[in-house]
Amino acid sequence: MHNINFTKYKYFTLSFSFLAIVFGFVVTFAKYGGFAHSLDFNGGLRTVVELPADKTRNDLEGYFQSKKIEAVVILLEKEKNIYQLDIGLGSLETIEALYKEIPEDSRESSTSAIDRFVQLLRYEYKLPKEKVLSADQVGAVVGGELTEVGITLLLTTLAIILLYLSIRSQFKFALASSIALVHDILMTLALIGFLQIKPSVPIIAALLTLLGYSINDKIVVFDRIRENAHGKDNLALSNIINVSITQTLGRTINTSFTTMISVVAIIVGGAVELYDFAFVLLFGVIVGTYSSIYIAAPISEIYDQLRKKRFA
């Protein structure tokens, strides 16, 4: 098999990644003012209603879309047509306005946002009171502390991996893997912000999964580099890297492909609420594979060159 010159494009790929991340975050914060709001992270309104048999998920979603209310519709029970509706805090004003449009005589005066939302629903779908099974103003489940825990976790994990890999192989590989991991997380976060995907428990799961997948991927590539570099200190690292990546390319493609099969199955399968999870995971797998080859390896090479220069 011919060796492919992967490191040739290193400055291009490194700057591409850097710009993509910056672009993603700039759009997230400048255009949208941050990540999307979600019930899991920011709290919001949650109701469970039993709809008439002829109403479907599409009706509900169409209604919310036409009224510009951000809602997540979850089918809880098929036979009884029971839905859970999650409304983010961002739509409170819209609900307020719509509530005021209800004719005076068919609305009860209420002060809380959740009451108003329930009245709106009841009016729209002509629901008797007992069909509204529950209505809550809910707090964030995973927000707040999770961000803090998440950052601590990521930093500690990186530190330990850095240590383990430094002992098992060389510092430069450990450093490069860690940077590439951060790259993967940032890249995915940039995408989540750019597309305004709602952070949720499944999204956290996807982030964690891609972290695990990415570590795995990087180590396989680096192990081969280390093995090939053994006793060849005088050989240019870029050459060794190219040989190693080529050697592991079969494996990389196979593994990415098999992982993607499962993920794509979820997307194609049409599990609406799992769509974001699968989408983020799919992106993560691609980014993880890309960064093992085009980010991690070049960084170890650059580090090596810098060090050689200093001692030369």
Binding site: V48, I74, L75, L76, E79, Y83, Q84, S134, G139, V141, V142, E145, L146, V149, G150, L153, T156, T157, I160, I161, Y164, L165, R168, S169, V201, P202, I204, A205, A206, L208, T209, L211, G212, Y213, I215, N216, I219, V220, D223, R224, T248, G250, R251, N254, T255, F257, T258, T259, I261, S262, A265, I266, V268, G269, G270, A271, V272, E273, L274, F277
Partner: protein, 644 residues
């Protein structure tokens, strides 16, 4: 690794795994217990309740589930007051649903999923089926409100004596001005502690949250979430798939405390009064009229704490006990160690708490072989040790009662001052009670009593639709991956698939054994495990193929392939394992669920890919005598030439 005999190991592990997983697929029976009071209702009312149950039943479980219920359309006989439901895949969410929908008919706390023979044999009846998290199947959410009125009244008890002393000093014209000044500032300090600012309330709720967290961990619930709702002074507890909510609630709300109180000084005037009147009753042959008998009946009928408190307060009035003292019951067992713990006599203790549970820590139950009974030893905090020493040196000869909840469990005489900060409580405890007492001391009691503000069953994060589609998608994905592996690596792919299946089965069995609650992130962890397991095999086969391409004999190529891949697989998995362990230790809720499956998944992956795959592969090559191992995909693969 070339012996057939080694095959016993995987088969053994598989057999054990299947045994553990059996209850998940077994045909089982569920007892739905009918409330006792239903039988006292008029027949028409009974009929309404029964009809409601069976109407819902026909609608929800009738045909599709394949479940049966006995007896049908009628109330079960009074001597066997339960319905028996039989079927597969009876989930705790469904059990909850049935009892919640028929609250006036079903006594929820007594519902029981009968253990299968396997659970009976290896777990002593404890469940072995995989539990699903709130996000998958829904569960129970309880909001507990802090009762701050009760809290302040308890606080007032604690400071009662000091307060009267301080007031005395203030009103005493002979007292020195600086003493008065000191008393005044202390008084305001104490009184300010009765005034609960929002900040104080949060602090108390935080303490309560911690204790609830601890109590829940001992209940083997994997992902309970405990949160404070600041707006309502409440604590919200989410319990995934909890079926026996009544028992858990009781554990959560338990505000039992442990405290020391001095008994009235000798000669026990008040206690004597009570004892005299009791004796008179006995002499008249009216044992059933004695207070202690009445109190025992109250306890036996489970009248609840309120009724017991009222009874004791009644006694205080009856015997004109002064305000500084309080009547308690001394609890003990009868003559045999197996008889019930019941109130046996009354004692009169000082209202003032001499030493509270906050002064004690680190309690351990232990068996006292001298008295053949259980006792609890504990350490006192430095402050507590000082107080205890003062207490015991100033009150020699008096009785110091240990009050657990509202039971006096031990009432020893103080012989000598006790210094050193260690003490023990002996009473007539069973092992369970000793453990409970030790827990109350170690964890501390709930600082505030909690009452149930609302209790609700909540829906899953994903609807049933998504779960059904998701499971199908994952299954299809799995199947496609397996087909792809066979397509790409042929025989090798088949072996990889085999070890992947074994991997997932062992993992499921392990998680079941550990009472793990499966959540959505948990499933993500399993998917990652599968991905890494496939990857491990891919790495191995690529290595073997390289060896073959270099012209090595097949058996050597296989051995070398595994050896070369070993450290790569180890490194990749160990690093992920480290990250996983960190997530378990630092993370909460969703992160933890993911990390636990991931960590155990890595363990099973290492076993299946490094041992099992290798065993299968080497047996195939060396024993079955496959001479040509083609690890190239069908159709595209170039011809391999291997030297046998």
């Amino acid at each position: 690794m070339q012996s057939y005999r080694l095959l016993i190991l995987p088969f053994l592990i598989l057999a054990v795994s299947f045994t553990i997983l059996y209850p998940n697929f077994a045909y089982r029976s569920l007892k739905i217990v009918v409330r006792e009071d239903v039988y006292a209702l008029p027949e028409a009312d009974q009929k309404v309740l029964v009809n409601a149950l069976f109407e819902r039943w026909a609608k929800d479980y009738g045909k599709a589930s394949g479940w049966t219920i006995e007896p049908q359309d009628t109330l079960p006989p009074k001597e066997n007051p339960f319905y028996i439901v039989k079927g597969r895949f009876i989930t705790s969410a469904k059990i909850n649903q049935i009892s919640q929908e028929n609250q006036s008919l079903v006594s929820e706390s007594k519902n029981k999923l009968e253990p299968t023979w396997i659970e009976e044999t290896i777990r002593g009846g404890k469940s072995l089926s995989i539990k699903l998290g709130l996000d998958l199947q829904g569960g129970m959410r309880v909001v507990l409100k802090g009762d701050f009125d009760d809290y302040t009244s308890k606080l007032k008890d604690l400071y009662a004596k000091e307060l009267t002393e301080l007031k005395l000093t203030l009103n005493n014209p002979a007292a020195k001005p600086e003493d008065k000044e000191k008393a005044k500032s202390r008084l305001t300090e104490i009184e300010s502690s009765f005034d609960l600012s929002p900040m104080r309330k949060i602090v108390e709720l935080e303490k309560a949250k911690m204790i609830i967290d601890n109590r829940l961990t001992t209940q083997n619930l994997t992902e309970p979430q405990v949160r404070i709702q600041k707006e309502q002074d409440a604590i919200e507890v989410s319990l995934p798939g909890v079926s026996n909510s009544a028992a858990i609630l009781e554990i959560l709300q338990n505000t039992e405390t442990v405290e020391y109180r001095l008994e009235e000084p000798t000669p026990f005037v008040y206690k004597g009064q009570i004892a005299d009147s009791e004796r008179r009753m006995m002499d008249l042959g009216k044992r059933e009229n004695t207070d202690i008998y009445l109190f025992q009946e109250l306890v036996k009928n489970k009248a609840g704490k309120k009724a017991q408190d009222a009874f004791l307060e009644g006694l205080e009035k009856k015997y004109n006990i002064p305000k500084d003292f309080k009547v308690y019951a001394m609890w003990a067992r009868g003559n045999s160690a197996k008889s019930a713990l019941l109130p046996r006599s009354f004692v009169v203790l000082e209202r003032k708490i001499a030493l509270s549970g906050n002064d004690m820590t680190n309690a351990q139950p232990s068996y006292n072989s001298n008295s053949y009974g259980w006792m609890v030893s504990f350490t006192l905090t430095p402050n507590g040790a000082e107080k205890f020493f003062d207490l015991t040196s100033q009150n020699r000869g008096r009785n110091l009662a240990i009050v657990w909840g509202d039971k006096v469990i031990s009432n020893p005489v103080i012989n000598d001052p006790i210094a050193g900060g260690r003490a023990e409580i002996s009473g007539s405890f069973s092992e369970q009670e000793a453990i409970r007492l030790a827990n109350v001391i170690s964890e501390g009691a709930l600082p505030i009593p909690l009452s149930v503000l609302e209790m609700r069953f909540i829906g899953p994060t994903l609807g049933i639709e998504s779960i059904e589609v998701g499971v199908k998608a994952v299954a299809i994905g799995f199947f496609l991956v397996m087909v792809y592996m066979i397509f790409y690596y042929r025989l090798g792919g088949f072996i990889a698939d085999l070890s992947l299946l074994v991997n997932i089965i062992i993992l499921a069995a392990l998680l079941t054994l550990m009472d793990f609650t499966l959540t959505l992130p948990g499933i993500a962890g399993i998917i990652l495990t599968a991905g890494m397991a496939v990857d491990a095999n891919v790495i191995i086969y690529e290595r073997i193929r390289e060896e073959i391409e270099e012209g090595r004999a097949l058996s050597i190529a296989v051995t070398r392939g595994f050896e070369n891949a070993f450290w790569t697989i180890m490194d990749a998995n160990v690093t992920t394992l480290i990250a996983g362990i960190l997530m378990i230790r630092l993370g909460n809720g969703p992160i933890k669920g993911f990390a636990i499956t991931l960590c155990w998944g890595i363990v099973t992956t290492l076993f299946t890919s490094l041992f099992l795959s290798r065993l299968f592969m080497e047996l195939t090559v060396n024993r079955i005598g496959i001479h040509h191992l083609n690890l190239r995909p069908f159709f595209f693969g170039k011809k391999e030439t291997t030297n046998a």
